[in-house]
C-alpha cells in the first residue's frame, strides 16, 4: 500500500491538486511514526502507512494555512476532517482526503490495539476522495459499556474518581494541543480578562479546565482519542469524550463528523424538544 500511497501523492503534488500533503513517515524506531509534510513530489518516498500510524492528521489542517491540501486519513480521522469542514475551517474542495484501509492501530506503550479500534465501523474509510486498500468493518456496534458502568456510580464516587485523576494533571495542555477541534485562536485557559481559569495548578483548577474543554467540544468531538493517547499522566480522557459522543447520540440523535452540512445539536433546536427535567 505504501507504494500506491506514494504514487498517488506524487501525482497530486505534480498536478498541483495539492500544495502540501500530510502523511506519515517512520520516526526514531520501527514502532514509531510521525507526521510528514511533503511539498516536493520527489520527496514522497518517505511516506508509509502501518499499524503504528496512531496520529490523527486532521489536526494539522487548521494549522497549515494553505489553500490546497492532501491528507492521509484512517477511516476514523475522516470524521475529524468532516467536522472541521462543517465548522468552516476550510472548504471541502480544498482538501483531498486519502482514505487508507486500517485494521486498527497499536498503542506502542502496551503494544495493544487501541480500545476504539475494537468494533470499528470505518476500517474501510467512508467519504474519502481516494481510497487505498481493503478492510472489513466490524459487525458489532461501538460499545459504551464502560461509560454506562461509570454512570452507575454515585456522584460522590464520581467526584472522588475525578479528583484523583486531576490530582495527577500537570496542565501541560497536551490534550488540547493534539485535539483537532481545539483550534480557538485564543484559548479560554490562557485568557486573563476575564480570567476564566486561574493559572495556578491544582486538582480543582485542573478539573475546571477539563470540564470547560469537554463542554466546548460537545457536539464537535469525534471521540478520536488523540487527547487520551497524548496524556503523559494517563488521565482516562476517553471516559469523557465517549460520554460526549453517547450524550450527543442519546439526547439529540447526533453524531459529530458524519455530515459536513449538519447543524450541531447546540446551534439548533426543535420546538418539540424534551423538557421533562425543567420545572
Amino acid at each position: 500500500m505504501d507504494k500506491e500511497l506514494q504514487e498517488l501523492i506524487k501525482k497530486l503534488l505534480t498536478e498541483k491538486k495539492a500544495e502540501w500533503a500530510i502523511g506519515y513517515e517512520k520516526a526514531y524506531d520501527e514502532f514509531s511514526t510521525r507526521p510528514a509534510f511533503i511539498i516536493d513530489p520527489a520527496d514522497t518516498a518517505r511516506l508509509i502507512f502501518n499499524k503504528y500510524c496512531i496520529n490523527n492528521l486532521g489536526l494539522y489542517l487548521t494549522k497549515l494555512k494553505k489553500n490546497k491540501l492532501a491528507v492521509v486519513c484512517k477511516g476514523c480521522d475522516i470524521a475529524t476532517v468532516f467536522e472541521l469542514i462543517r465548522e468552516k475551517q476550510f472548504k471541502r474542495e480544498n482538501v483531498a482526503i486519502i482514505g487508507v484501509a486500517c485494521e486498527g492501530v497499536l498503542d506502542k506503550r502496551t503494544n495493544k490495539l487501541l480500545e476504539k479500534c475494537e468494533n470499528c465501523q470505518v476500517k474501510q474509510p467512508k467519504g474519502a476522495d481516494f481510497t487505498l486498500g481493503n478492510a472489513k468493518n466490524s459487525e458489532k456496534p461501538k460499545s459504551y459499556a464502560d461509560v454506562v458502568e461509570f454512570e452507575k456510580k454515585s456522584s460522590k464516587e464520581k467526584l472522588e474518581f475525578w479528583n484523583r485523576q486531576f490530582e495527577k494533571c500537570i496542565r501541560c495542555y497536551a490534550c488540547r494541543n493534539v485535539c483537532p477541534v481545539c483550534y480557538c485562536p485564543d484559548c479560554f485557559a490562557l485568557r486573563s480578562m476575564p480570567e476564566y481559569l486561574s493559572k495556578h495548578v491544582d486538582a480543582d483548577k485542573n478539573k475546571l479546565f477539563h470540564m470547560i474543554r469537554m463542554q466546548h467540544v460537545f457536539g464537535r468531538c469525534t471521540d478520536c482519542k488523540a487527547c487520551d493517547t497524548a496524556c503523559p499522566v494517563n488521565i482516562p480522557l476517553s471516559m469523557l469524550t465517549k460520554k460526549l459522543a453517547k450524550d450527543a447520540k442519546e439526547l439529540f440523535n447526533y453524531e459529530s463528523g458524519a455530515d459536513t452540512d449538519a447543524r450541531p445539536p447546540l446551534s439548533t433546536y426543535d420546538e418539540g424538544d424534551s423538557e421533562s427535567d425543567i420545572m
Binding site: 461509570f150 454512570e151 454515585s154 456522584s155 460522590k156 464516587e157 464520581k158 467526584l159 472522588e160 474518581f161 475525578w162 479560554f188 476564566y196 480543582d204 478539573k207 475546571l208 470540564m211 470547560i212 469537554m214 463542554q215 466546548h216 460537545f218 457536539g219 469523557l240 460520554k243 460526549l244 450524550d247 450527543a248 439526547l251 439529540f252 445539536p265 447546540l266 446551534s267 439548533t268 433546536y269 420546538e271 424538544d273 424534551s274 423538557e275 427535567d277 425543567i278 420545572m279
Partner: protein
C-alpha cells in the same frame, strides 16, 4: 469545589430579564416568602447562558445553580430559551459525569406573572440541595 466547610446552602440563580426576573419581582409584589439562599444574577435571556458560567459557578463553590427563563414560545427574543433547552440536558448530564449531583443543577420556566411559582421553584431547589448535602 469543597462545600463541606460551609454551613449555609448557597444557590446561584440566573434569571432572564423578561420573564423570570420579572416573575421574581412579582414574587416580591405578592410578598411570597422563599429561602434567602438564592443569589440572583440578571441575564437578558437564557440564550445568553453560557454553560461555562455554570461550570464556573460550581467551581466557585455554589451548592446549587438554577437557570430560569420564559416558557417555550414566550421568549422575548423568540428563540433564546429553545437554545437553552438543549444546552441544559447536555450540561446536566456532563456535570453528573464529573460528579456534580443532579440535585444541584436545575432549570425552570417562570413567566412574568408566575410569582408564586418562582417561590415554589426556589424552595424546591434549596430542598434538593439540602437533600444532597444531608443524604449524599
Amino acid at each position: 469545589m469543597s462545600n463541606e466547610k460551609k454551613k449555609d446552602i448557597n444557590v446561584v440563580g440566573f434569571l432572564c430579564n423578561w420573564c423570570s426576573y420579572a416573575g421574581a419581582d412579582m414574587t416580591g409584589l405578592g410578598r411570597n416568602i422563599y429561602p434567602s439562599n438564592i443569589k440572583i444574577i440578571r441575564i437578558p435571556c437564557t440564550g445568553r447562558m453560557d454553560p461555562m458560567m455554570i461550570i464556573e459557578a460550581f467551581h466557585n463553590g455554589a451548592d446549587g445553580v438554577l437557570v430560569s427563563g420564559c416558557h417555550p414560545g414566550d421568549c422575548h427574543y423568540s428563540e433564546g430559551n429553545f437554545y437553552w433547552r438543549r444546552r441544559y440536558p447536555h450540561l446536566k448530564s456532563l456535570m453528573e459525569h464529573f460528579g456534580i449531583d443532579k440535585r444541584r443543577f436545575h432549570a425552570s420556566w417562570v413567566s412574568a406573572s408566575e410569582g408564586k411559582k418562582f417561590a415554589e421553584v426556589v424552595k424546591k431547589v434549596v430542598a434538593d440541595v439540602k437533600d444532597w448535602q444531608e443524604n449524599g
